[in-house]
């Protein structure tokens, strides 16, 4: 019996409809969308159109052309960040960023194209508030600040950043606002236009319960990117230029149609359950797990006051990677180490050995938490941890 507690990496299982539609697509209508005139090509295009429409509604944008499909969130963030900056620009990122943000920004800076600063998201500050977080960002703004890039929800704990307030802050100053929603899409409501988001980047395969192999950019109003890659998409085929219009401008090459088909069903499942219900359920599992861990000797929990889908901890006397391996041998899937988040672990004080992350999804049960607790007790005894 597997207790899957690694939903921040990728959710498992998926709603049955996701499996069914992905399979149906691959076996019945997986033509190449936007190319052919035959029924299968048009059927594939229709499914992609349906998914764009659904996502536009889900993320509060009124033009479905602003929904762009990519390979994953990292690709989406690279396309957005590199598609917006020019030489001499300044970028502000948070101290909780995943490498999907940090590495492209770092590379641009190392090549002398941009400069960047890191703002404190005040994770460890009890009097943390949106106003204070915006004040931290404000203290770093320069005349050439082009954009603020930040994760909505951390990938190593359940802390979130206040999108609405940061979006408003950026709007007033004419700064672009780019959001990594890898850990929040499908967990919390996000409305791109209401929150003044210039570009939202997210995966299919996490909180939206779609297949791997698909990411999404939701562009803000009147935002145009330089293209990250160029190639065929069926449009203006005899021209050297990519089309000027979205989404085709940004979608070179064959689309991940089966993944999009599955994603469509994932979003429908989320809509059916409700984001509020999902957030409450995941928080309830977090609270149970936190209580269990608090009662387990030698456990340290990081950022414990933020209840949500993700919980980070360590067991004294055993490395996080070793503990993750031990838990795996007890049928519990978690992730140890650094979770591609050098900045986040530095902020939480776990950059020496990393930590163990457990992350919940809609299919987890209270019994998963109980089994984790039993396994930790056994491992402590086996390892002679006192």
């Amino acid at each position: 019996m597997i207790n899957y507690l690694d939903n921040a990496a990728t959710t498992f299982p998926k709603p049955q409809a996701v499996y069914d539609e992905t399979y149906r697509c691959m076996t019945r209508y997986c033509g190449n969308p936007g190319r052919g005139s035959h029924a299968m090509s048009l059927a594939a295009a229709k499914k992609i159109f349906e998914c764009r429409s659904l996502l536009a509604d889900f993320f509060g944008v009124d033009e479905l052309e602003r929904i762009i499909f990519t390979l994953n969130t990292t690709y989406a963030l690279n396309a957005v960040i590199k598609g917006l900056v020019k030489k001499g620009d300044h970028i502000i990122i948070s101290d909780m960023e995943h490498n999907a943000v940090f590495r492209p920004v770092w590379k641009l800076a190392s090549e002398g194209i941009i400069e960047y600063d890191i703002f404190s998201s005040m994770i460890n500050i009890p009097r943390r508030s949106p106003t204070l977080i915006c004040a931290k960002i404000a203290s770093l703004v320069r005349p050439n600040t082009k954009m603020v890039v930040c994760s909505h929800a951390s990938n190593i704990c359940s802390a979130t950043l206040p999108l609405k307030e940061i979006g408003e802050f950026c709007r007033k100053r004419g700064i672009l606002f780019v959001v990594d929603a890898a850990q929040s899409a499908g967990h919390y409501p996000i409305k791109v236009d209401d929150m003044n988001i210039s570009a939202l980047c997210l995966p299919s395969h996490k909180g939206l319960y779609g297949p791997q192999g698909c990411g999404v950019i939701v562009l803000g109003r009147n935002v145009t990117l330089d293209t990250l890659i160029e190639g065929g998409n069926g449009v203006n085929s005899l021209d050297g230029d990519m089309p000027s219009f979205s989404p085709e401008r940004y979608e070179a090459g064959t689309m991940p149609t089966p993944a999009v088909a599955g994603l469509c069903e994932g979003v429908k499942a989320i809509n059916e359950i409700g984001l509020k219900e999902i957030a409450e359920y995941e928080s309830s599992l977090f609270i149970s797990a936190r209580e269990m861990l608090c009662n387990t000797p030698n456990v340290s929990i990081y950022a414990p006051s933020y209840a949500g889908p993700t919980l980070l901890f360590n067991l004294r006397g055993i490395s996080s990677e070793a503990l993750a391996r031990e838990l795996d041998s007890h049928g519990i899937c978690v992730r140890g180490g650094f979770h591609c988040s050098a900045l986040g672990h530095k902020t939480l004080g776990t950059s020496e050995d990393g930590a163990v992350r457990i992350s919940f999804g809609i299919f987890n049960k209270q019994s998963d938490v109980e089994n984790l607790g039993k396994a930790l007790t056994r491992i402590s005894a086996e390892q002679n941890i006192k």
Binding site: G34, A45, V235
Partner: protein, 79 residues
């Protein structure tokens, strides 16, 4: 080549725009289907919507209202 029929079409552009046009027409109770235009052989893939020619004026009104630009209107053409 098929004989002329009562089907007219509007050449729009990308398949996304053509499907968007179909959505608006459907909302206005005008049946249509997405087709790949014959002009595609000269310009790459150009999609449009085909509909009954008797709906021509209604289609023009709906697409104009939806701000969907039409590259070319084809009347009674073989598809």
């Amino acid at each position: 080549m098929k004989e002329k029929n009562d089907e007219c079409s509007a050449e729009i552009g990308s398949v996304t725009q053509a499907m968007k046009a179909q959505d608006f027409l459907s909302a206005a109770a005008i049946p249509s289907k997405v087709i790949k235009s014959r002009s595609s052989s000269r310009h790459g893939c150009i999609y449009g919507v085909a509909y009954s020619c008797s709906q021509e004026n209604n289609v023009r009104a709906v697409l104009a209202n939806a701000r969907i630009s039409v590259k070319h209107w084809n009347q009674n053409l073989p598809l």
